[in-house]
Amino acid sequence: MPATAAPRRPDRDRATFAALGFRFCLVEADSWAFEAACAALAPLRVGTPPVSDDARYEIRAVSPRRAEIVVDGTAIHLAAEPAEAVEWLLWHVNQQAAMRSSRYLLLHAAAVELGGRALVVPGSSGAGKSTICAAFVQAGAGYLTDELTALVPATTTVVPFAKSLHLDHRSQRALGLLDARRERGDAAVPDHVAPSALASHPAGGPCVPRWIVFPRHDPGGGTGTELVRLTAADALVELLVHSVNLDRHGGKGLEVMAELAQACRCYRLTYADAGDGAKVVLSEIGAGP
């Protein structure tokens, strides 16, 4: 009797995800990359496939070391190794989520939930948003997002975009997230961390902001931890600077941001140690453990 290949279960070779307004699927072309990418995208996975996907991703191994990312049949990036391909895929998904979520007012910001209200952490790349966000989650806050905060303009409600957090090796070490084997360099350390690695019940739900903290990570630690209250006008300038799509919302977007700056308590946080920084903020706003 000729051998026949067992049909693959559909959930083994195709996974669907939602990143704010961006719906996409990942199709297995290389088992290692597929599993690694699915693990990294796990917080965004949806149970029921949408009627149609905005994009169809594949990561194909083109040699033992090289892999390419294919979107809707077109190769768009050649990575030096599969792990880099996964990181690049996460970056691309983030970009697409921003581009295809124009109904939301988007901020370059992390956000967590504390007692049903949101603490928003706007900042440029390298300001330490993800690191302090992870420290808040470790301290008991609900995770909403680490890079892209989506606000419903009519209500200023933050919509969760709970993707894996982008944390480099140094931040992971500072947060106590590296195990001994990885510390020795025995295994590659991805630049992303699943929210479930930070706390047992990390997810936050939609909520309205109550606090805004603009971080400045100072790893040298010269100033230690410093938390300074900002005026609403100063906070509004910062919010506008960190807006991703103010041009799509125009004057209405300005009005929403102004409402937010005036309704929230706003601070500038300078920190060297993320755990200390989170503790100082939580103590100030009365949400400490």
Binding site: T231, A232, A233, L236, V237, L240, L246, D247, G250, G251, K252, G253, L254, E255, A258, A261, Q262
Partner: protein, 88 residues
């Protein structure tokens, strides 16, 4: 001003330019000049009006008004046609 959305927060006036997709932040003095530029009043009339509010610094106010109108025009916060009278 058409195509401009304005929001006051504390002592600052935030202006969003819908056409240029830009925002501006004006302090109290610049906001007073911005409000006075209506396409009707000349720069001298605006300066006189604002100087009357601060008679002890009238000369400085007149200089500041001229400087502010020039700056608002340069940045495009006020349109040429609106500032036509003030700019002359």
């Amino acid at each position: 001003m058409p195509d401009m959305t304005r929001v006051s927060v504390e002592d600052s006036l935030f202006v969003y330019d819908e056409r240029g997709k830009r925002f501006f932040v004006l302090n109290t003095s610049a906001a007073a000049v911005y409000d006075a530029v209506d396409g009707q009043a000349s720069a001298a009339e605006i300066a006189d009006r604002l100087a009357a509010l601060h008679p002890e610094q009238a000369d400085a106010v007149r200089r500041d008004v001229a400087f502010a109108i020039e700056g608002l025009l340069e940045l495009g916060v006020v349109a040429e046609e609106a500032a036509g009278a003030a700019g002359t």
